[in-house]
């Protein structure tokens, strides 16, 4: 691997609506292992933000602890980032979002972070419908501590160490569906054609958007005995093609009529779903749960956009906060002044 980034820029690099090139969306050089799925996810986020012409500084990146949680340093270097505490990113993201509702919040977590130590926080941030993109970089193992099984490791799946996992797996997608998540998707780090539009749709979604991304750990959990390795996932993935059409673009699809479901988003954007194996209404939570379950039963991993609520209130709407970011309120708006204290004092005599 290289240790420093070349400063050279191709003069004809394509630019987006803001005049930025992809270089403007890069972060530090990744220190993850060569071939790590997480780097592909970082690249997909970078591409999605570039193509959506998002101003990098209007994004806040938050993460917990682990390999996945290191990765926000490797994309969007002009954004603030917060590598917080193991499993506790959801609460930090909640506070950050409450302080300034105008930024875009991207949370990066892993399976250890979200399904074990942070399962409680994960469940509750789903319940709060916090407006954020929440990516779980799911590799079924603890990479940074060298390959222990995580709570999402499938029963019988074995890492490089060779011991079959004896415990039932936790499925964050099923859990999120069950407790009322308003946008639930699953994808694969090796499928950027699907992952990038999902990221765009998730960023556009108003409310909590979960993308559980199977992201193989090349060093510890990519053996043939693992159900989270590249080979196994490619062979067992039930793939749903996803297109994201931003609000101002004309809708045109290349899929055959009758196989595509168009899903409108709150700002006028649209998601096109091209279905192969699964045929269910994307607004039907129970159908999504059933489809996930049936695929799992058949030994398949169902990927794509699985559920999206028609409309839902995010946390700010539930709490009834002002449209101005709370961190921008002035002293005059916050401090009632001495006059009011007189009446308080009077009431306490």
């Amino acid at each position: 691997m290289s240790y420093s980034k070349p400063k050279f820029r191709h003069p004809e690099l394509p630019t987006n609506e803001l005049g930025f090139t992809k270089r403007d969306y890069e972060g530090a050089i990744s220190t993850l292992c060569a071939g790590c799925g997480h780097d592909s996810i970082s690249a997909a986020i970078l591409n999605a933000c570039f193509e959506m012409s998002i101003q990098p500084h209007r994004v806040a990146k938050l993460s917990g602890i682990g390999c996945s949680s290191k990765s926000p340093a490797y994309f969007l270097g002009k954004s603030h980032g917060f590598n917080s505490v193991h499993g506790r990113m959801p609460s930090v993201a909640t506070g950050a979002n409450l302080a300034n509702r105008d930024l875009i919040y991207i949370g990066i977590s892993g399976d250890g972070d979200s399904a074990s130590i942070g399962l409680g926080q994960f469940m509750h941030v789903v319940r709060r419908n916090l407006n954020m993109l929440y990516v779980v970089e799911n590799n079924g193992c603890y990479g940074l501590t060298k390959g222990q099984d995580s709570a999402t490791a499938d029963l019988g799946s074995a890492t490089k160490k060779g011991n079959a996992n004896p415990y039932e797996p936790m499925d964050l997608v099923s859990l999120a569906l069950q407790i009322g998540a308003t946008f639930v998707a699953r994808s694969f780090s090796g499928d950027k054609k699907q992952l990038e539009p999902l990221i765009k749709a998730a960023i556009t979604h108003k409310g909590f958007a979960l993308i559980d991304v199977v992201s193989p750990c090349v060093t510890f959990n990519n053996s043939v005995t693992s159900t989270k390795g590249y080979q196994y996932v490619r062979e067992h993935m039930s793939h749903m093609a996803v297109d994201f059409v931003p609000m101002r673009e004309e809708i045109c699809t290349s899929y055959q009529a009758g196989t595509t479901q168009q899903v409108c988003m709150h700002d006028g954007s649209a998601v096109h779903l091209h279905k192969t194996g699964a045929d269910f209404d994307i607004h039907d939570r129970h159908a999504a749960m059933e489809a996930v379950y049936q695929h799992k039963k058949a030994g398949e991993i169902l990927t794509g956009l699985l559920y999206m609520a028609h409309d839902s209130d995010d946390l700010h709407e539930v709490l009834g906060t002002v449209s101005k970011p709370l961190n921008a309120l002035s002293e005059n708006e916050l401090c009632p002044g001495s006059r009011f204290l007189d009446s308080i004092n009077e009431g306490l005599r």
């Binding site: 340093a73 917060f82 409680g120 926080q121 916050l334």
Partner: protein
Amino acid sequence: MRRIEAVNDFVIKFANVNGTGSASANHMFAKSIFRMGIPVSPRNIFPSNIQGLPTWYEVRVSQRGYLGRRGGVDIMLCVNPQSMADDIQSLDPGGYFIYDSTKPLDTRLMRKDVEFIGIPFTQICLREYEDARLRLLFKNMIYVGALAALLNIDFAVLKDLVSDQFKGKEKLITPNVHAMELGFQYAIENFSCPLGIRVERASEIGEHISYTHHILMDGNTATALGAIYGGATVAGWYPITPSTSVVEAFERYARRLRIDPGTGKNNFAIVQAEDELSAMGIVLGAAWNGARAFTATSGPGLSLMTEFLGLAYFAEVPVVLINVQRAGPSTGMPTRTQQPDILAAAYASHGDTKHVLLFPSTPRECFDMSAQAFDLADRLQTPIIMMSDLDLGMNEHMSPPLEWDDSRKFDRGKVLTAEDLDSMDARFGRYLDTDADGIPYRTYPGTHPEKGAFFTRGSSRDVYATYTEDGEAYVHNMQRLLKKFETAKRYVPAPKIKMAKQKASVGALFFGTTASPCYEAVEMLAKEGHAVDTIRIRAFPFNQDVEKFISEHEMVFVIEQNRDGQLRRLLINEGELPPNKLISILHYDGMPITARSIAMSMRDSLSDNKVTPIIRKTVRKTAKKVKS
């Protein structure tokens, strides 16, 4: 038998069953005395239970303004047979035992040195009311009425209080006043009223000090109001006694004072989190993103928050934590008071951490320090922990009125705006010690398209927030954090020192709710010829006045409400002070410390004769100015 006789100087205790509505009646009793211009300090002594267990309510009445617990009980009003035997025993000789005489008192419980006053509360209720719930509730009002007669409380004041309490529910006023009249009448007809113990309006006994401009307020409400005035917009919290009412009061005030006039929307956000870890995470995220944010908790919650507190210390995020202390641990004595979290808070978390602590001792100080905590946090970019306790937080205390200086401005500390970043020649470094005070400059997320963004981590980074595990960079950062802690001494509230009238070689050092009874104890000793100087600690880190005070005295009592002398240990740890000079006086039974016990401990140390019994005169001097 010599009965205790006293005017405006006594302790009355109510023994009730919890869940019977007694606390509000008892509160009304205390407030009526307060409204007569006499200092009171009521204390609710309650179990961790909703209904059926014994609960007490102790009211100290002190014309001289002593608001701490005195120790001992002069009048016991007992309507709880469960605790009756102990309640009788707890009375001082010459005291009065007022009880429900519907059933005859077990003669074996009688004491010869106590006056027994039986009033058939239950019988009166059975006669007057059909409904069982009313019988229960009005019994409380009946005894308040009886006390008005027995203690010479102005009945008109009580009637006003009933009207205040039932504003908006006017039809409840007449029956409540009637219940009080029933008790009042019974007492007048059956006893020689008032008793030897009584209250008189201050003006009528020649007292010049009037407390009518004072307020009666609990510390948690004052703390919440401080957070409103200090500009807090985000609160993450998890319910835990005795801190719950901080956030509840914050919400109450926010709904009145923080509604955007144009839209009717909220200029605040409160999230009841899934646990205390999350509560602190919310505060950390909001503070990182430039909002003023706080949480309130108690010991077990503090334990759960310590990981985040460490991150906030190293990542230099300005969080505010209100710790309303109680006796530990989780299944400990959640409704009993102590000061047991000093060390846990001062050194909360892993790695080399230390935190700024504030020690309020009155509701007024809760208000002031809570508001100040947000300025300190922003200025110092570090957690600020305000150490209140159950006694201060949940009980009402007489306090000077709250004040706010309208010319005061929030100190948001070293925050760079987009304009600042544009006008800077040098590269922005989040952890650069530009001003040589250990405090770096920060930017809020979203400030500038090109400059000022940084990646927040614990400590594996250099001064530009770039990832490194270089040892030198780590040490450099740790030294700067230490320097910042030194800088904090300039900003935190200074201790309050009171020198004795004569030169004293002995000092007393204390903080928080220990202060009030300490001042009283020191005055008791002064009358006995022992001069003691005092210093009330208001913050950690300690400034140089603290060390100077200790070095100028031969012996310093360190008085606190925990087992291990935690503040003393912190002093020794941080100040390199001679331990043998610091004499611990400790109290940790879950009840607020008393002036008598402090005086006794000091007396023991100061006199040659180590065993000096406390002899209480049954008739005190203040009783002389009784109107005929």
